[in-house]
């Protein structure tokens, strides 16, 4: 059975607190913290972007899988902040990890579910026997307009997964996709920041698709919440995944391990995949995991994984996601944050 043979995460060290952003805009920090269910978010350094973070995460995945990167037949990167409008992120990544030249690559874009799209296609390639190993990455340095509600949550991070048929650490038991044309969030070419439809992004967008995909895969597999040790839902803020879990009958304990958003922010394409890495860091053999992504526009991908015995042997080979989240943090003031995010530029 095909599945994940290695995984890796990357979270930048820099953080900015909700209070620091709220102070600048005269906003009420406690109500933002309460409303969004988050306290701080990660910020990429000036020399970091989707590609560099993808490389960091991919290297950890390769270390855990202990494979020869030249045997990777596909490198897929899902992001909504690909550094180039024209030029693939995957070529740089494949070059950096030593997977070139016999490798296929593609950039995926589907708002916050580009990462899980990459995972799905990678899995299919491996299952079909067309390639031996495939690398799928979800990574973003997501954008939020200054003062917009998104600025409090738009964060940076990456998660990488190697798929293969042998030596899996988590088998993929089932997948399910649920998609409609629902324009809740978008960014047109040449625009720096996305636009969104406020509260419309909740019930008719996020919840309809996340619940639709979750219910779909549960029905397809004949499983219920009790069959899972863990579940991770796309986490644009702290509240939505908890609300989705509750509506589906999952307990807080089942979702808490993968719910990184209160201290991480929304890493967009990296969001639910990063949650999955945090779960793989602690899951036991036999544990079943439900992952449901969400991308505005809108759609959700759902996966059911079963952790194998091999997990114990590989997880210690690279840094744990929670360690990157909780340790060695550097807190930025708003001015430095603006500089790092390219919102202000030094005169030539």
């Amino acid at each position: 059975m095909a599945g994940i043979i290695g995984y890796g995460a990357y979270i930048p060290r820099n953080r900015i607190r909700v209070e620091e952003i709220a102070k600048i805009w005269g906003a009420d920090a406690p109500s933002y913290k309460r409303g969004l269910g988050l306290e701080e978010k990660s910020v990429p350094s000036p020399d970091q972007d989707t590609i560099t973070m993808a490389v960091e995460a991919a290297k950890k995945a390769i270390r855990r899988a202990a494979i020869d990167p030249r045997e990777i037949g596909a490198v897929y990167v899902g992001s909504e902040s690909h550094p180039y409008a024209v030029k693939p992120s995957g070529t740089v990544l494949a070059e950096a990890i030593g997977a070139t030249p016999e490798v296929h690559s593609a950039s995926f874009e589907f708002a916050c579910k580009a990462g899980s799209e990459a995972m799905f296609v990678c899995l299919c390639q491996v299952e079909s026997g067309r390639i031996r190993y495939g690398l799928a990455v979800g990574a973003d340095t997501s954008q939020g307009a200054p003062g917009d509600a998104l600025e409090y949550s738009a964060a940076a991070g990456a998660a990488a997964f190697l798929f293969g048929r042998d030596n899996t650490i988590a088998d993929v038991n089932e997948t399910y996709a649920y998609m409609t044309d629902t324009p809740d969030f978008w960014r047109r070419e040449y625009q720096h920041y996305p636009r969104h439809a406020g509260r419309f992004t909740g019930e008719p967008a996020y919840f309809k698709h996340v619940l639709g995909a979750a219910r779909g895969i549960l029905s397809k597999t004949g499983m219920g919440p009790k069959d899972f040790a863990y579940a991770v839902f796309h986490q644009p803020n702290g509240k939505f995944p908890l609300n989705a879990a509750k509506q589906l009958g999952f307990t807080r304990e089942q979702v808490e391990t993968g719910r990184l958003v209160p201290k991480l922010g929304n890493t967009y394409s990296g969001s639910s995949p990063l949650g999955l890495t945090a779960i793989l860091d602690v899951a036991k053999p036999g544990d079943r995991i439900l992952m449901v992504s969400y991308g505005s526009g809108a759609g959700s991908d759902a996966f059911v994984f079963t952790v194998t015995d091999r997990i114990e042997a590989v997880r210690g080979k690279a840094a744990a996601t929670r360690d990157m989240l909780d340790r060695n943090k550097v807190y930025l003031d708003y001015g430095t944050y603006c500089k790092y995010r390219g919102k202000i530029l030094k005169a030539e």
């Binding site: 009420d28 109500s31 439809a197 406020g198 509260r199 419309f200 008719p204």
Partner: protein, 386 residues
């Protein structure tokens, strides 16, 4: 003038953020419910109360649109606009048309589809109810205007933030009994005072919400109603409307709502009753301070004593004059153009003895007060069990 009765009422199933329901669908659902409730087989004329469908969904010409989609062509259909009092003003036009003898069966509906735009656009659309050139263009929004009024009321009469909060607490308590309400749950004084400040002293829980919704009633001559009505007949005892300055700064007194006092005085005179005869009322609590000031303008309490009404329980269910038994704009929701019509529906249900757990015992006379802007227009109706 003929006596006029209300023989049918209808709302769309539930008010709230109705992402999948369009402006026309909202209206038609409420209108069909009202026609069904009335049991009439035709209409002679219809009115549509709506504040600003142009800014909210880009649609004008609502009379034609709604008559068309209701299947009511070719009857005359006219839109009535008086900002947040559009529904009340539309009802008054329907009343006048039946009373005058021009038409027998008149449908009056109110509708607003507010969630197709984001928060900033909605705030702008609503600010069109203020004086655009002298207020809105300078950045004043409705929470800001009502906050100014609240400040003056607090300075002059010692009204407190806690008293404001108690209006929200009471209306949510009523709203919790109304399954059609947008927010059918209770809040505490601490919830209100702890909620985010919008315009000092108004917290977000002092403000009515953005709502999609519609309401409709069918009017006919009282004689006809007595003959054909399937349910207890409710009679329109008085219809009055008054105008006040559109801009707040033109008022002689920021702490009172003159147009409501004027309309109420005329209504009481027409009905031959006084404020003490009112047993239940629906008033325009777009902000908690508004309910306080309106109670004073209606003569339910002395000037300056409005803050004590919710605090003392006088305006709660079981009190001397239960106010906003539906939950009010605060908890039931405020789809601007529908509000005035929905107020008439709540009082009609009360007078029919049809208000379920919200029923005011032995209610025979009720009042509605619907207001545009900061009181640039006010419409008061007094209804009685026939």
């Amino acid at each position: 003038m003929r006596d006029v009765a209300i023989i049918g009422v209808g709302l769309n199933k539930k008010w709230g953020e109705l992402w999948n329901v369009s402006l026309r669908d909202l209206f038609v659902e409420a209108a069909l419910n009202a026609v069904d409730d009335a049991g009439v087989d035709h209409l002679d004329s219809m009115y549509v109360g709506c504040m600003t469908s142009g800014l909210f969904v880009g649609q004008e010409h609502l009379g034609s649109l709604m008559a068309d989609y209701l299947g009511a062509n070719p009857i005359p259909a006219t839109r009535v606009e008086s900002a947040c009092a559009s529904g009340g003003a539309a009802f008054r036009q329907g009343f006048i048309e039946v009373a005058s003898g021009i038409s027998d069966y008149v449908l009056v509906g109110g509708v607003e589809k507010m969630t197709d735009v984001g928060g900033d656009e909605a705030t702008y659309a609503l600010s069109a109810a203020a004086d655009m050139e002298y207020e809105a263009y300078h950045g004043v929004t409705f929470p800001g205007l009502y906050a100014l009024m609240a400040r003056v009321h607090m300075e002059r009469f010692g009204t407190t933030c806690k008293q404001l909060a108690q209006v929200a607490v009471k209306n949510h308590k009523h709203g919790a009994l109304n399954p059609e309400a947008q927010y059918p749950f209770e809040v505490t004084v601490e919830d209100v005072l702890g909620s985010v400040m919008v315009a000092d002293p108004l917290h977000i829980l002092d403000c009515s919400p953005i709502t999609d919704g519609a309401a409709a009633v069918v009017l006919c001559p009282l004689d006809t109603a007595r003959r054909i009505a399937k349910k207890p007949v409710v009679r329109v005892l008085a219809s009055a409307q008054a105008s006040g300055t559109i801009a707040l700064h033109s008022r002689k007194d920021l702490a009172s709502i003159e147009s409501t006092s004027q309309a109420a005085t005329k209504a009481y005179r027409a009905a031959g009753i006084g404020p003490r005869d009112i047993q239940v009322a629906e008033v325009h609590d777009c902000f908690t301070i508004a309910e306080i000031m309106v109670l004073e303008a209606l003569g339910f309490v002395e000037t300056g004593k409005g803050g004590q009404a919710a605090e003392s329980g006088m305006t709660a269910l079981g009190g001397r004059i239960p106010v906003n038994t539906s939950g009010g704009l605060k908890a039931k929701g405020h789809p601007v153009g529908a509000t005035g019509v929905a107020q008439v529906i709540e009082i009609t249900r009360q007078l029919r003895g049809d208000a379920g757990p919200r029923q005011v015992k032995d209610a025979r006379i009720g009042l509605t007060q619907n207001m545009g802007g900061t009181g640039g227009s006010s419409v008061v109706h007094i209804l009685g069990a026939a």
